[in-house]
Symmetry: C2
DNA sequence: CTGAAAGCGCTTACAG
DNA sequence: CTGAAAGCGCTTACAG
């Protein structure tokens, strides 16, 4: 008869068995440190008494390791969980963590980081930080001693994983320009210092290349324009603040609803989400893709490859990006700046 | 000159300032427990010495609360992060947790739960378990004393959040049957005990209604069939194991490629993902929707409402489901069985 | 192969 | 308002 104590601890179990706490701990953690017979006895008694194994909280304090890796997302969790690209990144991270007995804690850099949340952050053994940080705040609140890997942006001396944004963008722009367009439009993501959904004017200051990958992508487009005798300054740019259908749609509608002689017949989009939204809105307006409007995307998400017309885009392997970041944070790979390759996919939206 | 010690603790800081550790702790946690002046002095010295605040690991052990809630997903993380419905659920959970200073730990029930991962599970203050469990294993390894909420399935005495699957399915089937079809087909998700991608035969044992929501949905269809004078046993059922394009496609292709006089002209699908895949494959084959083939989905995901033809479906509010589960787990709402309402959306795929 | 003991870094009654 | 002290539940040298 065991009195069903509120909560049985390793110490209780040791007392019950008449062995030391060290032996109980070893029975669970280091089988080689005690005789099989004793181990068996401990384990079966544990089961009988409903002891589930050493408490993770105490273990974590004692060993200094929680086996938790935190992913700090620049966007809201809502966005990050629903966006194909960041889902893939998380997938890759989760895969590696899982294989190595670690788990994933999700943090968002968007909430101003109530003390509580950033307090919890210090549970993690390491941090993977993804995307443009709205402020350095949360970053400064992270425990400074623990490993950190940045993904898709740069933190001074820290290791990072990123892709060749400029050359990739140059490639896809060159592909598109091989068939001379009458009028080009560029659709960017988070380019301007202050939020802007719509046409970008000369006066608006831009975010630095350190803070947003958009700059590098735009540079790639501009280099391609110049090589094809097009003045980059002559190509209109529309900016979109969030890579979701609902935010993209009004901006794109405003472009597609321009008079025929002002509407671009080639739209270079900085994400597949933007390009797909353009595709849907074009279809609704009876504009044929690619005959009346050619479209290019970026990312190579599944949704763009499953529907007709298939998107012409740059495929990046976000899952692999996640894997690499996770391996670095676990120390399975040397922490350094690692550049992943991308690939041009020629689909039907811009043959 | 502070010797940049490896790691400064609350105790170090107290010693440095000549105050007790209690005061330092209070300075961070209970401002009302000490004079503003002392608090100011402690906080500024902390900043100067680079003390980031009380260590979450120690705090967690001491207080017994980690401010971490674990979500245990029946599917792989890869699937869960990329599926629209479970992403939405996570979104709702994250929203509430965030608002209350908690963070989200992601666990998958699919990996057989290496001791390590299930050990980490015990860091969490509570558990939200989502979807059909492949085995009771992980569930048994969760700390039995802590709160748990089940979503979309039933664990004996535990609180749960779910939807009215049977009536909702009945509704949409009735809507579809209002226009008499020549031949009906039903596409289920995880219906059979043993994995099956394709036509379900009489002999295959089915999962119980306790374990899969598919049973309740099928019951709703069958009730509608009976009410319309159709023998449920005469309607063929195809099963799909995973709600992804790649797994759906071959099964659906096999249906669409049946001879004209065997191919259903109405497909009742248990998810929008299935219905959308059917839509794409139908288009590729030159089948017109809804003229040649009518389709209904389930879930009401965004992707199905943004493209043409819009999906006829049952909308469930997965975000809200997540919110409710999170509120229950945080004790903001009484833990009980809570049923959320759904809504029939009549789109173009089955007008 | 086994056990006694220290200590991980905090928080919280409690006494002053 | 402040401080001395106990203890959360473990793991890990270390001695036997």
């Amino acid at each position: 008869m065991t009195p069903p104590s509120r909560h049985i601890t390793l110490k209780d179990l040791a007392r019950e068995l008449g062995v030391s706490t060290a032996s109980v701990s070893n029975a669970f953690n280091r089988p080689d440190q005690l005789s099989p017979r004793l181990r068996e006895r401990i384990l079966s008694e544990a089961q009988r008494l409903g002891y589930q194994g050493p408490d993770a909280r105490a273990r974590t304090l004692r060993t200094g390791r929680s086996r938790i890796i935190a992913v700090v997302l620049a966007e809201t969790l809502t966005y990050s969980l629903n966006d194909a690209v960041s889902s893939e990144l998380l997938t890759g991270i989760a895969e590696v963590l899982d294989d190595h007995g670690h788990t994933l804690l999700l943090l968002s850099g968007r909430q101003p980081g109530s003390r509580q949340t950033s307090g919890t952050a210090s549970m993690a053994d390491g941090f993977i930080v993804y995307g443009l940080m709205p402020s350095a705040m949360l970053l400064n609140e992270l425990p400074s001693q623990r490993p950190l890997v940045a993904v898709d942006f740069n933190i001074d001396g820290q290791p990072m994983v990123h892709i060749d944004n400029e050359p990739a963008s140059h490639d896809i722009a060159c592909h598109a320009l091989a068939t001379p367009p009458r009028r080009i439009g560029v659709l960017t993501l988070r380019l301007t210092e202050t939020p802007c959904n719509g046409r970008v004017t000369e006066e608006q200051p831009w975010l630095t290349a350190e803070r947003t990958i958009t700059r590098a992508r735009l540079d790639g487009f501009h280099r391609a324009f110049a090589e094809h005798g097009i003045d980059p300054a002559s190509v209109p740019v529309w900016n979109i603040e969030e890579n979701t259908h609902d935010v993209c749609a009004p901006v794109i509608a405003s472009i597609l609803d321009l008079p025929d002689d002002e509407r671009p017949d080639l739209l270079l989009c900085m994400s597949d989400r933007i390009a797909l939204t353009a595709l849907t809105l074009a279809e609704q307006r009876g504009l044929r893709v690619p005959e009346d409007l050619r479209l290019t995307g970026f990312d190579g998400i599944a949704e763009g490859q499953y529907r007709a017309p298939r998107l012409t885009t740059i495929r990046q392997d976000s899952v692999e990006k996640g894997r690499v970041a996770a391996r670095m944070i676990l120390g399975l790979e040397a922490p350094r700046a690692q550049l992943l390759r991308t690939e041009l996919i020629v689909g039907d939206s811009c043959p």
